[in-house]
Symmetry: C2
Subunit: 374 residues, 2 copies
Amino acid sequence: MRFELQAECPQTGARAGLIHTAHGIIETPVFMPVGTQATVKGLSPRDLADDLDAKIILANTYHLFLRPGHESIQRLGGLHQFMNWPRAILTDSGGFQVFSLSDLRKITSQGVLFRSHLDGDAHLFTPESTVDVQLALGSDIMMVLDECLAYPASHEAANQAMRRTLEWAQAGYQHYRCRLEQTGSTAALFPIVQGSMFPDLRKACATELLELDAPGYAIGGLSVGEPRTLSLEMTEVTTPLLPKNRPRYVMGVGMPEELPEYVARGVDMMDCVLPSRNARNGCLFTSTGRVIIKQARYRDDSAPLDANCACYTCRTFSRAYLRHLFQASEILFSTLATLHNLKYYLDMMRQIRQSILLGRFPAYLDGLRRAALE
Amino acid sequence: MRFELQAECPQTGARAGLIHTAHGIIETPVFMPVGTQATVKGLSPRDLADDLDAKIILANTYHLFLRPGHESIQRLGGLHQFMNWPRAILTDSGGFQVFSLSDLRKITSQGVLFRSHLDGDAHLFTPESTVDVQLALGSDIMMVLDECLAYPASHEAANQAMRRTLEWAQAGYQHYRCRLEQTGSTAALFPIVQGSMFPDLRKACATELLELDAPGYAIGGLSVGEPRTLSLEMTEVTTPLLPKNRPRYVMGVGMPEELPEYVARGVDMMDCVLPSRNARNGCLFTSTGRVIIKQARYRDDSAPLDANCACYTCRTFSRAYLRHLFQASEILFSTLATLHNLKYYLDMMRQIRQSILLGRFPAYLDGLRRAALE
């Protein structure tokens, strides 16, 4: 994996670049659709490629480890072949899901012991084992195991979790380097900056992680219940410490209006379940604001969902039809709504990238901020 | 609507033909995918057109009358525009659903009073009103209101229901002819032969319905719990009485192996929720037999679902991946499974049609019957 920085905004920290992977080139800044269980809920790989032109998607190690199992996926040729997705895949380490989904977590210096949310079976994730699981999946960009705290956390607890995250990153990296030599894999491994909402801890963590000379760095532990200004602030104190020539990935953000704010703070990669989950719940993002499709006002609305959107959903169906599908709990609603919301996110990122390349990002950002205030 | 008979099998009653409608030409024999609530569950119109090349689909008057309402659909340009399906649509009269889904049915000579299964509201369907509802939907082929009995029924009850069906057909037809003149609609209206499992009643009903000189005839009241030999027998006593130059539609059948049997008895059109409902439940039809995808034997099965099938699902994914999607309750499973099962049905009908046109239907049928016995 190689990152090519193409342009930097002189006024903000915004960057445009290319991530070269064994499964294609990713234009950054990029939003990565979430395909938790080896499928972006409601979409087929051809929807993702042909309609959305997504270059990279995310899959969750925790879920795939539990079902169908990484060894099963490896026997079937790896995750790309399993889900028939020829483009890039990023997998998380499973740490976040262990902390948010599983029961009976027990953290030791070795790793984290947990019970599956599916059948209650006990499992252990270590910094080494999650690398092995991700190598078995065959992902292009892997994440180190980290300890992610809920918000709020005390400085002491945050420091302890950050220190553990650092130790795990070192252990994970050592194992990763051995395994790369053994396997000839080209997978990248990103360490994760933690430190809760404490700038000193974030800075200390970032600084120490630099020693790993990683091909990219993630900022984790955000979107865990804190006010949004804090998430942005933590990003802002971290990115200046990270190497310019490596991509930066803020995990689990965000709302559409937040995407350009993260980019303005030097972030290259983002992911979030929000566009797809909201879609299934009938909350749709459009160029003229949010549409809650179940509202009676859309019952006879023959207009497209978003007249400025070129997605299949907006080209083909009325708001009235979408509302009918939602009210009738039809499967097609999830597909059409997810297609649109992800298109909205990906189009926004393409516009942001374009504006950076053309040197117009500050004006673009200004326009968005003003529109948000109206 | 015009039916063009292209070929008849000299040994069996099988026919190949073309139904010319305002929304395209339908090659018969044809299987019509069921799009109950103005969507074939899990599929988009482009899946139906591009992947399946379906020429006609069915929609349920009962469901659309209740939600979103036929007047709403009419205001939005009719059902074709509402669901963005430019090809032909057949709607049932709503009678069958009233008898199978709604509460508190009360039948009078006027029509049938029922309570919505959605909100308990009382509604009345009359032979005239269901024609009006279907005209508002803008379907290409409409059905008359009929009384459909459960199995078994006494000869007396069956006779009474058949007589009521005849009266309703006459009333519906009279109303339809007036409305055609008023509206300039080109919709066809098919009467329905009833008579439960009594050949004398089936014959009497068919003979009397001939007087309507309808553009097509349906055989209803089958697949209501009777043994399959009886359904075929009732078809066999009815089709010889129907005019040769009009299409014959057996409602609500059947299993894949039954399709050629109905064709052999002179049937041109069929519909059934079975391929799509079974798909969603993980029961898949293949050229080598049924696949119950949840079975552990498919866990590591890298083969396509059906090596002889050219559908997107079989071209793209392994049985192991499909099993994973099913086990994980992923939406994509419903889409991929429905696509395959409907492709299986439509391909079978295309093969049947081809064999009739080439004069090889008896050999084709013989091969299928032998394979079924193995």
